[in-house]
Amino acid sequence: MKHIDEYRDGTLARSIAATIAREAACDRHYQFMEFCGGHTHAISRYGIEDLLPGNVQMVHGPGCPVCVLPIGRIDDAIKLAMRPEVTLCTYADLMRVPASAGANLLKAKAAGADIRMVYSTLDAIRIAETEPHREVVFFAIGFETTTPPTAVAIRLARKKRLRNFTVFCNHVLTPPAIRAILDAPVLPEGGQVRVDGFIGPAHVSTITGTTPYLSLAAEFAKPVVVAGFEPLDVVQAILMLLRQVNEGRHDVENQYIRFVTTAGNVIAQREMAEMFELRESFEWRGLGELPMSALRLRDAYADLDAERRFAVETVPAADNPACECGTILRGLKKPAECKLFGTLCTPETPMGSCMVSPEGACAAHWTYGRFRARDRVAV
């Protein structure tokens, strides 16, 4: 596959890792956070941690939209789907995310709710067109990557004058989450993880460009390297971060130059700004309520907003008390440190959202990492 295979060359990855080992100061411990679940997945799948010297460690971040969606919103989606007139269209990732009282969308579907997995918002539009007697609700989640496709669907629904299509909007933004991690108070139980630099989002940045990270890098004096999701991209980004730390710099650098520009996708940004506005606050699993971190439909599109049409009122719900998703999403714990990991909680029977999405830290560790001999020891 052109433009994919080149970035999966194991020999080249090992030789770049050898440069990382050469340049890493032996009296120093480097801890970098990969924000995105896509990076977490690549790091686990390709065994990138095993290529790194012991004093260069990766901390998994909260950049998995399925993982950070709070239980209360899944409960809302199930309630919507249980309405006899509603057809809920959702990305497949959400089907098995645990809701309150052991429920999930898959079980709701088995119980008779009309829930359909779609690949694209265009599929949801098509269902609304072909089944005008159904109230089609699109369960919209995702970061800036997935938001523009929802915006295009809203534009299409308006253009086609669809009266039976609405969006249940759960879109969230990446910069406030990065800020929340850097801003976390130092709590007795450990509220903050030490991060020397970030691997910045790959596909989010194709939309936003690299500009939004400038203020974060400057304010917190942390380097950010925007990187692609292929293994060589990640290894190169780690080297770029390490060099910045060694040189005492905290710049925003772009490794993913083949797709990401400084300004990003201006058409997509315009579409998002046209349809969405900031919510004052939104709950993130693991991070709590974050101000100005999520989007809702503007008043001009109120007729396409499922929350308004169906008077959705979110009731906050607690996670399973033993589930460590929250601390794992903040990088404070590793998946294997959760006592549910691999016992009660597996991808077949997930207790927490980090085990559901393939990009969740727990699912990635379960699938690719759990048989590794032992944790690497810092030298």
């Binding site: 433009h3 994919i4 523009p148 496709p149 295009v152 596909h203 080297l239 130059i257 797709f259 990401v260």
Partner: protein
């Protein structure tokens, strides 16, 4: 969730749509979020939408920088691979 891969544009269709192809599998996607899409472009496809266009020169430059970053002996091995 944010996963996306570069796929070749095979045919431009009406209403901001295009047929793209990867290893013989083709699919119709929306190109409403991009301007001036051309045949032969590699587009980053995510949930049925093209989000960005691959810059082939920057792709070459990335690979060149990766080879530069490699430890020389090991990099030679990588280059001499069939």
């Amino acid at each position: 969730m944010c996963l996306a891969i570069p796929i070749l544009v095979e045919e431009l269709l009406p209403d901001d749509m295009a047929r793209v192809t990867l290893n013989g599998v083709s699919k119709v996607v929306s190109i409403a979020l991009l301007e001036d899409v051309r045949l032969g472009d590699y587009l980053l496809i995510h949930v049925g939408y093209a989000l960005a266009r691959l810059d082939p020169e920057e792709a070459e430059r990335t690979i060149a920088m990766m080879r530069e970053a490699a430890v020389p002996g090991l990099a030679d091995m990588a280059e001499s691979r069939p």
